[in-house]
Point group: C2
Chain length 183, copies 2
Amino acid sequence: MRPVAVYHGGVFDRRIRVAELIFRFLISAAALLAALLLVTDTQVKQIFTIQKKAKFTDMKSLVILVVVNGMGAAYSVVQTIRCVVSMLRGGGSIVLFNKPLAWLVFCGDQVMAYVMVGATGAAAQSAAFAKLGEPQLQWMKVCDMYDSFCTQVGEAIATSVFATATTIIVSLISAFTLFRLYH
Amino acid sequence: MRPVAVYHGGVFDRRIRVAELIFRFLISAAALLAALLLVTDTQVKQIFTIQKKAKFTDMKSLVILVVVNGMGAAYSVVQTIRCVVSMLRGGGSIVLFNKPLAWLVFCGDQVMAYVMVGATGAAAQSAAFAKLGEPQLQWMKVCDMYDSFCTQVGEAIATSVFATATTIIVSLISAFTLFRLYH
């Protein structure tokens, strides 16, 4: 038998669960958008007779960002479904929750939040090098050459920052949901 | 009047508080070490008649890492002192804790954890570029030239990763400490 805590949640609990559902849906959408913006981003440049094509695979940190955002989108879709199912099963204001599930959700959210912060931080750093160059190291500003490619990368990183911030909020909600079971 | 919850904590509570104290002390030491490793890191290279000097200020992400580790060390020293004071005042197994303080510690820990993950991720990305180069963008491997400088940067990043991981653990402890006050 799993330890199952059943209690009648109040207005506050209901609001938290609705907020969690909305946030998780937003993360799914934003992470998917960020990944798509990166994958579809290409720019071809003609230099005399040589054709050069910029793709997200040219920069490892962008590949990592695509993978992390793809994982984040898939994870958040699963979690959104879980939220809907648990709200439908709970019915009205009655909240059904058990500790093993709360631990699972908590761990998943923590991992996703930190992985997304790390990947977005690294990609933002790469983008800063591409945009501003690093004169001390003779790294050139590749964005001067691939302007529209860089703009779309910037949009993808901004979307990724939004998804990351929302993931942090959700990870705080799941921490709250888990730890209040202990007193 | 602030709402103050007084209860007699068991062996589990005492262990958590001792663990928190040890972790916070470790973060102070590791973050300080990482900052010092970066600040003291220099290498001079003679290229024909030109003398070139590598410093951490040549790369913005390393400057950010120094600042973040410095902040992390200062914050953790303050928190270590708070832990000692609260253990001395609490005396034995009696735990004195109030919600506003728990919220303050929780928020500070969350901010530090995410800032450190972001800064360490960005610095690790820069280090990867310096070590491996990015042939597609014609960014050269500067570590081939400044080998001992790069080795010390690597040590600083490793120390920073340790400090970051410990900060994440501590942030989970403070989340647990706060949220169990709600039921």
